[in-house]
């Protein structure tokens, strides 16, 4: 007969009865039998699993880890030798100008950007502006990307902040023009758990570096 239908193989793997014809085929066809056996293996594991199998570690573990990795002596190693192609070493040894070659490759590669957290920004008080903030990794640097539409007209300017949950402390990241998407680098080593709230304020041109307390939109990055 023709090979077993993939749905049939799955059903037999979870324990349903094959027809006589399917059973005979499974005995004689290596391809179908291998597929069935691999599905049955994972089904056997799954059948045994308890509800409480997967547990998150206690919260103090993350605290201990972030403390340990924050120590300045723990510098991240340079890209490992494992990632260094052996042919490069050979080429270098026989005198090829590898610097130029690899340099050119690195330069021409576009910076990859990856969003690691994202939050909608909701208007405060009488404002109607809305937008989105996301933490992106661009070429290894973490940036806060903010995009807000419907910003109010103002004689001042807009400033992007990260606030502690209780707004007891804050960090000014930079300014945002109306209709702009700002990508602002995050200070190295900042913990977003300590400053999870993205806030955009209207600031008058008064030279006062502190928050005007006139916030337009806000959003809390997921913890």
């Amino acid at each position: 007969m023709a090979h077993c239908d993939p749905q049939t193989l799955s059903l037999v793997a979870i324990g349903e009865e094959p027809t006589a014809e399917e059973a005979l085929h499974l005995v004689t066809c290596d391809e179908c039998r291998r597929e069935w056996e691999s599905l049955r293996a994972v089904a056997d594991v799954a059948r045994d699993i308890n509800d409480d199998e997967l547990m998150a570690p206690p919260v103090h573990v993350w605290a201990a880890i972030s403390e340990e990795i924050a120590e300045p002596s723990n510098v991240v190693p340079m890209r490992s030798r494992r990632g260094f192609a052996p042919w490069l070493a050979v080429a270098a040894a026989i005198g090829l100008v590898v610097g130029g070659v690899t340099g050119a490759v690195v330069m021409s590669r576009p910076a990859p950007s990856t969003i690691v957290a994202s939050v909608p920004l909701e208007p405060l008080a009488d404002y109607s502006a809305t937008g989105n903030a996301s933490v992106e990794v661009v070429d290894g640097t973490e940036m806060l990307s903010v995009d807000v539409s419907d910003l109010p007209s103002t004689d001042g300017y807009f400033e992007v902040w990260l606030l502690a949950s209780d707004a007891s402390s804050m960090i000014a990241l930079g300014t945002l023009g109306p209709g702009e998407t700002a990508k602002l680098p995050l200070p190295a080593g900042i913990s977003l758990a300590d400053y999870p709230v993205v806030d955009i304020s209207v600031e008058p041109y008064d030279g006062d570096p502190t928050h005007s307390t006139d916030s337009v939109v806000r959003g809390t990055l997921p913890a």
Binding site: P6, Q7, L9, S10, L11, I14, G15, E16, S38, L39, A41, V42, A43, V45, A46, R47, D48, I49, E53, L54, M55, A56, P57, P58, H60, V61, W62, A64, I65, S66, E68, I69, N74, V76, P77, M78, R79, S80, G83, P112, T114, I115, V116, A117, S118, V135, V137, D139, G140, T141, E142, L186, A188, G189, I190, S191, L192, L221, P222, A223
Partner: protein, 218 residues
């Protein structure tokens, strides 16, 4: 970090599906490929893995949120000691942070890489126990290996099961734990036979594929 984001994606999918399959007429039509919430979760995992080797602490925190249950639960199952499992989790992630530049997403999966580090740390702990039990410095007995493999298998599959989304998770639960046939499941969840069969096939193949990738070298 991801849970909120992921939750909302899954919710959207379920709503979309309810709309699609909600009406009596719609449920008579068997869709060829039902919606797949697990695919969105996969895309999020892939983004994290791609950012990991060059990312800073926020990326690392997201990686920890996503995969620390895998590491902790594996260690806890093997060592049968929550305190030691917490220590292993800390060791694994500190080591992962320090050597993250060596992780290459093209060469393997990030959970597979973390599982490999976990195996090593768990083996260290087992060895330490053996040495403490026998101070005469005889080579440690090979006690830990079978249970480590079994724990890794179970925890990896449990992690994937938890990420299937609905309705695939319910359908597989009914198949595995209540041992219902696909016809009985279709009756129970009020979905067409073909949809249930399709969910079973896709979910089981997915569990198998992820498991084979992530369990790494045994």
């Amino acid at each position: 970090m991801k849970t909120v984001e992921q939750g909302s994606i899954v919710r959207l999918d379920v709503e979309r599906q309810a709309r699609r399959g909600g009406g009596a007429i719609m449920s008579m039509v068997e869709p060829l490929e039902p919606a797949d919430p697990a695919r969105d979760a996969d895309a999020a995992d892939a983004r994290l893995a791609a950012a990991f080797s060059t990312g800073g602490e926020p990326t690392f925190a997201a990686v920890y949120d996503r995969w620390s249950p895998l590491v902790y639960s594996t260690a806890r199952r093997v060592l049968r000691d929550p305190h030691e499992a917490a220590d292993v989790t800390q060791e694994v992630f500190v080591s992962a942070w320090r050597s993250r530049a060596t992780f290459d997403p093209a060469r393997g999966s990030l959970p597979g890489w973390l599982v490999t580090i976990t195996r090593r740390r768990v083996a260290d702990h087992l060895e330490r126990r053996t040495r403490q039990a026998d101070p005469t410095d005889t080579p440690p007995a090979d006690t830990g290996h079978a249970p480590v493999d079994e724990a890794v298998d179970r925890i990896l599959v449990a992690d994937e099961l938890a990420r299937l989304g609905e309705p695939p998770a319910t359908i597989l639960r009914l198949a595995f734990f209540d041992q219902l046939t696909h016809a009985e499941i279709a009756e129970r969840v009020q979905l067409p036979l073909g949809t249930v069969k399709s969910h079973i096939r896709r979910s089981l193949e997915r569990l198998r594929d992820r498991w084979e990738v992530d369990r790494g070298a045994l």
